[in-house]
């Protein structure tokens, strides 16, 4: 609640300035410009007439609305644009610098970002310096990124050779790209004709890419909500249980899981779901003495078998 009051105050302070410049502004337009719903804006407009320099002296804000347009009747000097707060300057500057690091970003977009960043730094003055204490780098394969970006804007189909670590294999596919996004790594969401389904491809696993002449025609799909995280296991997926020692705790950081129980001596018992447990054989091998698969049994067996086969090879070479 407290955080909402802060955001609302912040918004109302800017609203006062914004509305002065636009007499008769439409509720719908203002709501969009401020990134709020019309209902939220109306509740701001309910509060504003109660605010002013003195509730008894009568110097209250005189802002009213008929639900469609907003009117403002105050003297001009109430509402000069306010300076950026340290957190505001930091949030916007760090984000702008991060986006500008995306390899493969269109040059015109990068230039616009760089120009905007330096204007913002100038306007923020000293408050901009706290932004140096926060930084973000997006990683991506520049060439692949640029090709996907071009295919999306020209609505063309792509051919890719894609590496799947779970199977340690390269597959060739034709895909219709839908969007590019960055979440630590950079990804393309696309309709994949090989699997006849929507798939997410990590760009650093694209071994080769070509734009085809064919037009892209992905089926109408609702975009996935990325705030839920990239991997969204379903409740029907088989369960895998992994026990790790202190050296294997990273598993809980990298794999979305249902639960992670503490074990004595700093270990964890991690329960997770995946549509394809066989894909975790690599994890079982990687863990070595830092952990093992408890269930399912055939996954544990396949890892053991792979390790024995590998050891045999060492006796020969």
């Amino acid at each position: 609640m407290a955080a909402n009051a802060i955001d609302q105050t912040r918004r109302m302070l800017s609203l006062v300035t914004y509305l002065r410049e636009r007499p008769g502004a439409r509720v719908a337009d203002v709501a969009r410009a401020f990134g709020v719903t019309e209902a939220e804006l109306i509740s701001d407009l309910d509060v504003l007439p109660l605010c002013g320099t003195s509730f008894r002296g009568g110097d209250l804000l005189d802002i009213d609305t008929d639900g469609e347009r907003i009117w403002w009747h105050n003297p001009d000097d109430v509402a000069a644009p306010l300076r950026l707060a340290a957190d505001e300057a930091t949030a916007l500057l760090v984000a702008a610098r991060a986006v500008a690091t995306l390899p493969g970003l269109r040059e015109s977009d990068r230039e616009a970002l760089v120009r905007a960043t330096s204007k913002l730094e100038a306007a923020a003055g000293e408050t901009a310096s706290a932004g140096d204490r926060l930084s973000v780098t997006f990683e991506s394969e520049g060439g692949v990124f640029a090709e996907v970006d071009r295919a999306i804007s020209e609505r063309r189909r792509l051919w890719v050779r894609y590496y799947s670590p779970a199977r340690d294999e390269l597959t060739e596919r034709e895909v219709d790209p839908i969007r590019l996004f960055a979440l630590g790594h950079t990804y393309m969401e696309a309709w994949c004709y090989r699997s006849e389904a929507r798939r997410t491809f990590r760009l650093d696993r694209v071994a080769e890419i070509r734009i085809l002449d064919e037009a892209a025609a992905p089926p109408e799909l609702e975009l996935r909500d990325l705030s839920e995280g990239l991997v969204q296991p379903s409740a029907d997926d088989p369960e895998v249980v992994v026990e790790v020692g202190p050296g294997g705790r990273w598993v809980a950081e990298y794999y979305p899981h249902d639960s992670a129980e503490e074990l004595p001596e700093g270990g964890l018992r991690i329960t997770l779901r995946t549509p394809d447990p066989a894909s975790l054989k690599r994890l079982a091998l990687r863990l070595g003495r830092d952990g093992h698969i408890v269930a399912p049994q055939d996954l544990a067996d396949s890892a053991r078998k792979a390790a024995r086969a590998a050891l045999e090879a060492y006796e020969q070479v």
Partner: protein, 317 residues
Amino acid sequence: MAIAKAERLMNLALCLLGTRRPLSKRELRGSIEAYLEANSDDSFNRMFERDKDDLRELGLVIETVENLDGEVGYLARRDSNHLPPVTLDAEEAAALGVAAKVWQQARLAGAASGALQKLRAAGMPEDVNPYESHGALEPRIPVHETAFEPLMLACRDRRPVVFDYRKATAARPETRHVEPWALECWRGHWYLAGWDRDRGAERVFRLSRITGKVRSRAGKFTAEIPDVVTVRETVAGWAGEITDRTALIRLRTEAGYPLRAKAARVRELGDGWDELEIPYGHGLDAWLVEFGPDVVVLEPAELRADVVDRLRAVAKG
């Protein structure tokens, strides 16, 4: 009914911005309805102090001035609170629109949209849909770590902190006293660089390994803050990306695309095997074990022994 906090903050802000002479606490209490309703001096004082802090967080510069009678007064001068003129064109505005959407952390997301609102109030062009001009690009900065916000504030305000930290392979967390310098996000994970007071040296911490609360400590930093704080180099070293040696391995012809992509040299051996020379950094042993019987390490002997050791652990199950 209690008056909403946003209304109270708004009134205080307008009073302080609207006055040309410092206003005493008494005067402010007499002008703002919510303060009049406070049922004791104590509760008014607490409310007033908190509100002033909140407005300062929102970027307001509030001066404290003592008048001739020794009475303390407050005001927010126009010239120190005014946003200097910023002229952004439509492209720059659209670029900032994309940047403002990248934060997935509530405080920074609120601050970024607050910054946009102030800029729009000051006349920045409004983009209809930022994604239209930017193709389908959606960068997101993930923040899952609860330690992020307190550390961000501590870096901003240069406040020492204390937290419990579990090193990658440690069974138990250990208390660390740190002067936090900077936070950096790399490959979707956040890291803190700072001065470790217990070790008397610069250290990098991974936020996901901080257990429990981050607590602030009184006092100033004791170590000098370097001009350039390098987080990524340290983390890249952990990730095995800094290499000064090479390893020689055998790899099955169809397998191990990422190993091939990193190889300095690939030689066909026939019989379904190739020989590869690859960079050898931290963590290579764990990675090679993932390929099971498709990889045999030839040199150096130390790496071969590590891999065999790991395979034995898995084979034993």
